[in-house]
Amino acid sequence: MNAAADPGAGRVLDADVGVVGAGPAGLAAAGSLARAGLSVVVLDEGQRAGGQIFRQPSPRVAGCGAAPPSHRRGRGLLAAFAQSGARLCSGVTVWDARPGRLWFEQAAESWLVRCERVLLAPGAYDRSIPFPGWTLPGVVTAGALQIMGRAGVVPGKRALVAGSGPLLLPTVAALLGAGVQVVAALEASPRSSAWRALPGLLGHGGRRAEAFWYLRKLLGARVRLRSGWTLFGCEGEDRVQRALIGKVDAEGRPRRDTARSIEVDVVGAGFGLVPSIELGLLLGCRSRCDPRRGGHCLDVDGEQRTSVPTVFAAGEVCGIGGAEVAIAEGELAAAAIVKDLRGVPVPPALAVAAARERRAADRLLGCFPPLPGLCDLATADTIVCRCEDVRLEQTRAAAALHGRSLRAIKVGCRAGMGPCQGRICGPSLQALANGLPGQPADLPVVQVPVKPVRVQTVLDAPRG
C-alpha cells in the first residue's frame, strides 16, 4: 500500500480566508471579511461561537444572571457575524497548518481548509501558578470557573476566587449570577495597583461602564475584593474542603505568619493569561517576549500581519489585551486582508483605533505586573506538571543535572511532555525548577499536531 499517493480520505474546504478562533477577534474579522465579499471559514474549538468572553450560554441555562455591558457588544458582534455569510465550524481542533492551509478534526472527521490568507485569533490560556492542593477536584482556573458560572454548572456552593488581574471580577460576577456564595475574592497585587488601574478604566468609556457594572455587582453581594492577599493552598479529602489564604508582599511572596484557613468547596485561581501562539509558531511566525502582555506573543506589523506574509494575527495571540483590543485588531486585520486580496486601502481610522485600544490595555495591564514571589507558593512535593505527575523537587533535580533550559527540564523529568504539551505548566516551569522567580520561559518548540488528534485523523488528512 502506498499512503503517499493516497490523497487522504478527509474533506477539503476552499475559502479566501481561514480564521482560527471565534472569539471577539475572530468574529469581528470574519464578519468584516464576509461583508467585503470574501469567503470565510471560521474554525473554533468551542461548541458555540463567542470565544472565552462572549461564549453564549448553552440554551439550557439561557438568562442565568444579568450580563455586563460588554456582552451587549458581544451579542451585536455575534448577530452581525451570523448574518455575514461567514461559515463557522465549531467543536473542531486545528492541529496542523502551513501558509494557506489549515487542517482540522471535527468529531471523527479529517478536514483541510485551503485559503489565500490565514488569520490567527486563537486567544489565550489561563496562567497557572502551582500551589499545594491545586490538583484537588473542585480547584479550577478562574477562567474555567467563569465559564461554569455563566453556564450555571458551578460544582460547589461556597467559592473562593484568587489570583491577579482584571479577570477576577468577571469570574466573581459569573459566580454571583449563578447563585454561588463567594466567600472571598483575593487579588495578589497590592492595593496600590488597583488604584493605579482606576484612571485607565475611568478614562475609557467601555471599560469604565464595565468596571462599574462589576463593582456594583460585588457591592450588592457584599463581596470585598481584598488586595495583597492570595491563596496559599487547598486541602480536602476527596475534593477541596478548605483553603489556606494570607497576605503577600509587594512581589507576591507569601507571608506565612498571616495564613488562615477558610471553608470552601470550589476554588478558581487565575494569575493572568498566556497567549496561545502554538499555531503561529508552527506556521513559522516570529514571536517576541513581552512579560507585561503575558509572555511570548506573535509579532505583527501595523496592519496585523505576521512575519509570514500570508498569515495575520489579532487579539490575545498578539499579547494579552482584552476584548476591546481583540475586536479592534480583528477589524484591522480584516481590512488588511481585503487590501491584499481586493486592493481596497485600509481605512486609517481602524489602525488608529487598534493602536489606541492597545495602549489603553497596556496601561491597564501595566498596573498588574507579574508577581515573581508567587513561585514560593509551591512546596517540594507540589505537582508542577499535571499531565505527567511531576513534582517541584523532580523539576529541580532535572534542572540541576540536565541544565536550565526548558528542553533540559523536559527531558530531565518529563514535565511538559503530556497531552497539554506544557500549555499549563510551561510558562512557570523554568522559573520554578531553576528557583529563579520571574525568569522568562524559553520559547516552546511546537510540533504537529499542535493539539492531540487521533491517528486516523492524521492518516485521513487531505494532502496539499
Binding site: L401, G403, R407, V411, P419, P449, P452, V453, R454, V458
Partner: protein, 397 residues
C-alpha cells in the same frame, strides 16, 4: 596579581548523550575516585539524539560479533538496573512481526541466527501471537518472539548513569550548556579544551558528540570522521492508549535498519527515505511509533509523508492505534557510520584524543558496552570484548 587559575581535569568527555554518560559511568567505576572527570555538553544532558529516540534495548544476531557485542551490552543494562534503576526498564522482549509471505520466510532465518548464537527465539503461530498480544490484527500470519530485549527511557537512563558515577567518584563534574569550542595542543599531544565557560587543561578528551563528532575533530584539523546524520521521525500517543505490551518490529526491520544504505549518506538531498515499523509501549501507557530513515544533513523538520507511511503500517499491525491520540511528533538524528560499526577507541594522530560515536540506531542498546570498552582502553586494562572491529583507526588506512 595572581596568575589566572586554569581549571584542570584528568579527562574531559565532550558530549552528554547516552554514550557520553555511559563513558563517564564506566570511567568512574574503573579509575581511582580522585580522578577528575568533566562531562561537557553544548546543550542539555540527553537533549539531542538521546532525548529524541526510542529506547529499545536490542540484541542483533546477524553475526557472532554483533550478537556478542549487543548481548554483552544488555547484560550491562540489567546490571545498571540492579545498581541504580530509575529509568523505566521493562524486560518486554521483542516481537518480530510478519505480514507478507516473504516476511514469514524470514522468521525461521532470524530464529536460526539467535539459535546459532546459543540463544533462543520462538516462532508464534497466529493463535499464539493473539494470545501474547491481543491488540494485534487477527489476520497476521505469525511472528518471532525474542525474550531477551528490553525497553528503557533513555533520558532517565542518562541521569541514572551520572548519579551512579557521581556517587562512585565525587570528582565527576557534569556541565550542561557548556560547548567545546576548540582544543589546545602541543605537537601531536592534546593539552586542553576551550569551552564556552573557559579553558580546561587536560591530557585526555573523549569525543562523544554523536552526529557532531566530526565537528569536534575538525577543530583539530583532522580528516572528516565518516559519521553522517540519518534522520528518524517519531510519533508518541497519549497515556493509556497503547494497544500493545511488547516492543514490536517488522521482521524486515533488521534488514532495513542495519543493512547497507542504498544511497550516498554524504548527500543531504535526494534521499527519498524509507520506513519499517517499530512500536514501543511506554510505562505511562502511550506508544512510540517509528521508524523512518533518511539522509538529509542536520535538517530536523518533520517529514510528514514518511510519518504518514509509518503510521499506516503501524495501524496495519495494531488497528486499535487508529483511535489513539497523537500527543507529539519529532525528529532525531542517528549518527550513521559509513561501515555501520561505531567508532570506539583512540584516534592515533592526536595523542590523548579518544572517540566513542557513530552508533546509528543502536546507541541506546550499545552505550554500556561502549562505555566499558573505552574506559578499559583508557585505563590500559584488557578489554572484555574484542576492540578491533570498532577502532577508529580503521578509517586512517
Amino acid at each position: 596579581m595572581a596568575a589566572p587559575m586554569v581549571e584542570t581535569a584528568d579527562l574531559v568527555v565532550a558530549g552528554g548523550g547516552i554514550v557520553g554518560c555511559a563513558v563517564v559511568h564506566h570511567l568512574a567505576q574503573l579509575l581511582p575516585p580522585q580522578t577528575r572527570i568533566v562531562l561537557l555538553d553544548r546543550g542539555p544532558i540527553a537533549g539531542a539524539t538521546s532525548g529524541s529516540c526510542m529506547g529499545h534495548l536490542m540484541v542483533t544476531p546477524d553475526t557472532p560479533q554483533e550478537y556478542a557485542f549487543t548481548a554483552t551490552s544488555l547484560a550491562l543494562w540489567r546490571e545498571l538496573q540492579q545498581q541504580e534503576g530509575g529509568f523505566d526498564y521493562q524486560p518486554t522482549g521483542a516481537l518480530y512481526l510478519a505480514d507478507a509471505p516473504e516476511d514469514v520466510e524470514l522468521l525461521p532465518v532470524l530464529q536460526r541466527q539467535f539459535r546459532d548464537n546459543g540463544d533462543r527465539a520462538d516462532i508464534l503461530d497466529p493463535a499464539q501471537l493473539r494470545e501474547l498480544e491481543p491488540g494485534l490484527a487477527p489476520d497476521l500470519p505469525g511472528a518471532l518472539f525474542y525474550p531477551g530485549d528490553g525497553v528503557v527511557l533513555p533520558m532517565a537512563a542518562c541521569a541514572s548513569m551520572l548519579r551512579h558515577a557521581q556517587r562512585t567518584n565525587p570528582n565527576v563534574q557534569v556541565r550542561p550548556d557548556c560547548a567545546v569550542t576548540g582544543f589546545a595542543t602541543d605537537g601531536d599531544r592534546l593539552t586542553g579544551v576551550r569551552t564556552a565557560q573557559g579553558p580546561i587543561a587536560t591530557g585526555s578528551v573523549v569525543n562523544t558528540a554523536g552526529v557532531w563528532a566530526p565537528e569536534l575533530t575538525a577543530m583539530l584539523r583532522q580528516p572528516p570522521l565518516p559519521i553522517h546524520p540519518r534522520a528518524g521521525n517519531l510519533v508518541v500517543t497519549g497515556h493509556h492508549s497503547t494497544p500493545i505490551k511488547t516492543q514490536l518490529l517488522e521482521v524486515s526491520y533488521l534488514r532495513f535498519a542495519h543493512g547497507a544504505a542504498q544511497v550516498d549518506p554524504t548527500r543531504t538531498t535526494g534521499d527519498p527515505g524509507g520506513h519499517a515499523v517499530n512500536m514501543q509501549p511506554q510505562t505511562h501507557g502511550g506508544c512510540l511509533i517509528g521508524s523512518t530513515r533518511q539522509f538529509r544533513g542536520l535538517d530536523r523538520t518533520l517529514n510528514r509523508d514518511l510519518v504518514l507511511r509509518s503510521l499506516a503500517r503501524a495501524c496495519r499491525y495494531a488497528p486499535g492505534l487508529r483511535h489513539a491520540p497523537i500527543v507529539r511528533t519529532w525528529v532525531g538524528l542517528r549518527p550513521y557510520s559509513v561501515d555501520k560499526h561505531p567508532l570506539i577507541g583512540p584516534w592515533p594522530p592526536v595523542r590523548g584524543l579518544w572517540i566513542a560515536a557513530g552508533h546509528e540506531g543502536l546507541g541506546i542498546s550499545l552505550a554500556p558496552v561502549t562505555g566499558r570498552l573505552i574506559a578499559q582502553q583508557i585505563a590500559g586494562v584488557p578489554t572484555a570484548v574484542d576492540a578491533t572491529p570498532y577502532l577508529p583507526a580503521r578509517f586512517l588506512r
